[in-house]
C-alpha cells in the first residue's frame, strides 16, 4: 500500500496550539517546493554532492510528515548519491510528488 503523509507528529507537538500547527504548515508550503526544485536542479545538473545535500534536507521533512518508508529510501539514496549512483531518483521523485500533492490543500 502506498505510504501517505500525515500531520500526526506536528499535531502531537502542537497540542492545543493551533497557531503553531498553522505556522508549520505555512513553512512547509513555502520551503518544500523550493527544496524540491533545488533537488531537480542539482539532479539535472549532475551535481551529485549537492543533490545528496538537498536529499539530506528533504528526508527530515519525510520523517516529520510520517513518510517513514520514504525516509529510509532517502537515507539510502543520499549515500548512493555520494558514490554518484542515481538509481533511486525515480522512487525519490515519487515521494516528493506524493508530499507535494498532500501539502497543496493542507490546512490546520
Amino acid at each position: 500500500m502506498k505510504e501517505v503523509p500525515n500531520l500526526k507528529y506536528i499535531k502531537e507537538l502542537a497540542g492545543d496550539d493551533k497557531a503553531f500547527e498553522q505556522k508549520f504548515i505555512d513553512i512547509v508550503k513555502l520551503e518544500f517546493p523550493e527544496e524540491k526544485q533545488e533537488y531537480i536542479n542539482c539532479y539535472t545538473g549532475n551535481k551529485y554532492l549537492s543533490t545528496a545535500e538537498i536529499v539530506h534536507k528533504l528526508k527530515h521533512k519525510f520523517n516529520i510528515l510520517g513518510m517513514h518508508e520514504g525516509y529510509r529510501l532517502a537515507v539510502t539514496y543520499e549515500e548512493e548519491l555520494k558514490l554518484e549512483n542515481t538509481n533511486l531518483h525515480t522512487s525519490f521523485l515519487r515521494v516528493l510528488e506524493t508530499i507535494e500533492a498532500y501539502i497543496k490543500d493542507l490546512k490546520a
Binding site: 507537538l13 496550539d17 503553531f20 508549520f24 513555502l30 539530506h56 534536507k57 527530515h60 521533512k61 516529520i64
Partner: protein, 235 residues
Amino acid sequence: MNCIIIDDEAAARAIVAQLCSTISNLEVIEEFPSAIEAIKFLNQQTVDVIFLDIHMPMFTGFDFIQTLKNPPKIVLITSDKNFAIEAYEYEAIVDYLVKPITKERFEKAIKKVENAVTQKSLSPNSVKKPDVGNELYINIDRRLIKLKFNEILLIEAQGDYITVKTEKKDYKVHNTLKKIKEKLPGNLFIQIHRSYIINFTKIIDIEDNSVLIEKNVIPISRSNRPELMRRLNLL
C-alpha cells in the same frame, strides 16, 4: 535560561522553538539559518544554551563549535546518528537529539542542560602565551636580525626551512613553523594552514578559502578556518 536555535531549515527551527516553548524557564532569544550569522550575534551577546544542527551547508555545526572561545551548553540536533561519537569529543555538548525530536526526549535533554549549567562552568580552551615583547630575532648567517612583529606579513613553511616575509624583505631560516609559532604573540598571528602563519592585522581580504596579504594569496585549511572566522570582527 536563554537559548538560540541554529538550523538551515525553517521547519526544523519552528519545531525546536515549539519544544522550547513548553519549558517554563527557557526562552528562545534568536533563531539563525546559518552558523555565520550566529557567530556575529554571539560576538555581542552570551547565551546559556545553543540548539545546533550539525549538517548545514558551508559551515557545519562542528565548525561552528570550534569558533567559540567560551562555548555555552550545546544540544546537537541532527538527522544522522553517525556523528554521535564525534559529538562527545566536545565538552560543551551536553546532548545529541535525532530528528524528529519527541517532547519526552527534549525534556530529558533540558534536564541534562540544567545539570550541566549548575556544574562548574567550562574553562576557556585558550592558553595565554608568555609575554614575548615586540620583536623576534632570527639567525641568518650567524647574524641575529631583529624583526618587529608588526613588520612581519606571514611565515611560510618549506621543508626544513621557513620563510619570514616582511614588508621589506624575505628571510629564509632553518627552523620549523611550530617553533616560530611559540615565539609569536597570539593576538597578532594565526595559523591558517599547515604551511602558513599570517599576521592577522595584515589581511587585506578573505575570499572563499584564501586570504590576501599584500600580493600573497594564502590558502585557509578547513581545520583552521573556524578559528580565523571567530577572530574576525564581522559586521
